[in-house]
């Protein structure tokens, strides 16, 4: 499934599924006051810079994960699997067959949290935001804790073809292995380019990277 079709699926669709699954029976909340919510959403935001209200349109993954009670329920396990499969199918593998680029450049990308906000200029390159959520190079102590530590990544995971593949898939589209991961889909959403993904991969998986020292 490509991104266009992905985006065309709206919140309402998954909410129908939600009530079908019977996980939610509140008089308010998802499934009960969809019109009020949609109306309020539409009336409460405006375009700013290059960020338009188009961004409020959810794809199927976002809609599913916006109802955490449902998303984590047994009733929705099959649906979560289907969402992971669709996200995995969207992963584009490196076109030149190379997993690893330049870890030094990867470190810069991992450090940067810039890009895609209404105060960023359209020419601002997007960063990976990685340090905002992860420990990576231990020298950087100003790191977030929303995600697990990635320090010593290759030492702990190894550098096999399978690890390369899994890590690429995780960074390209985090939802390929965890339907409602809190991690952004850097490749799928076009936040990072292929060469930037290769550089980030090197930061985690190049034996010379300080992450693995």
């Amino acid at each position: 499934m490509n991104r266009r079709t992905f985006c065309a699926v709206t919140a309402v669709l998954s909410l129908t599924v939600a009530s079908a699954a019977g996980a939610q029976q509140a008089s308010w909340g998802p499934g009960a006051d969809d019109t009020a919510f949609a109306t309020m959403l539409q009336a409460s935001f405006r375009n700013a810079g290059r960020v338009t209200v188009e961004r409020l349109k959810q794809d199927e993954t976002q809609a599913f994960c916006s109802d955490p009670q449902l998303a984590t329920s047994k009733a929705a396990a099959k649906q979560a699997e289907a969402i992971e499969a669709a996200n995995l199918a969207s992963v584009k593998w490196p076109s030149d067959g190379k997993w690893l680029g330049d870890w030094k450049s990867g470190e810069r990308i991992a450090q940067s949290g810039r890009g895609l906000t209404w105060t960023d200029s359209p020419t601002q390159a997007s960063g990976g935001n990685c340090y905002n959520c992860h420990q990576i190079d231990a020298k950087e102590i100003s790191h977030g804790t929303i995600g697990p530590s990635l320090h010593q990544y290759r030492k702990l995971k190894g550098g096999t073809e399978q690890v390369m593949r899994e890590t690429w898939a995780k960074i390209y589209n985090s939802k390929s292995s965890n339907a409602c991961s809190n991690m952004p889909r850097a490749g799928h959403m076009g936040i990072l380019k292929e060469t930037e993904l290769q550089d980030i991969m090197a930061l985690l998986l190049d034996p010379e990277s300080p992450v693995n020292k």
Binding site: T117, N132, G144, N182
Partner: protein, 271 residues
Amino acid sequence: MNARLAAALVAALAAVAVFGGARAQDKDDTAKGIEAYREALKDGNPAELFEMAGEELWNKPAGPKNASLQGCDLGLGPGKVEGAFAQLPRYFADTDKVQDVESRLLTCMSALQGIDTQEYVDARFGTPKKNDLIALATYISGASKDKPVAVTLAHPKARQMYELGKRMFFFQAGPHDFSCATCHGEEGRRIRMQDLPNIMTKEGAAAGWTSWPAYRVSSGQMWSMQWRLNDCFRQQRFPEPIYASDMTVALSMYMAANANGSTVATPGIKR
């Protein structure tokens, strides 16, 4: 604010300014800087200047009707400011809407003073019109300091706002798939060095709700909750929330009701 405090504050701010980049090497300086400014603020908070300015604006006749805001009903009756903030957002019969302090101020400015509030809605944060609103909100919130948060969901529209706010809290969209819950839905998480309250719990909601409006040392600005939310939506890579729009009030209702029973600590001081 006296001269001694002002001087101490300037020194403290200079130390804290280093924090801007939040780099590892600066961490010790940062801790010292924060300590120094806490020390300097013991007998005063720059927010007090905004409180005083807000009180003046409240009492001063203005607008086409040349009227003050003294007749404004913040929920406890016309002109009653003390304790009103602790019960906001709340349902107002005259507008048939749930309103937070800032949207209610717009209603009063329009009704009592005859002001076209659209200009205030559209004005950018940090410009004089928004600063006036924030000063007013700071004055009003200060008059509830140390009172318990006591928001009621008894009216169906109040309950609905809470539920819509809760739903918005989990609403993911945009290029990063972020919702409020991505950053504020778990215990003990951080972005870089910044602690993130878990707003789904009473303690987390209290940490997030009860100290705004707050003076932000890093930017030297007084921020209201509307501004705080605006900047979180920016980081969330969402489009810009319209000032005092229903969705922002709904989110405030969700946070305030979750924080019920905790103590109002405005005006606050933040990083």
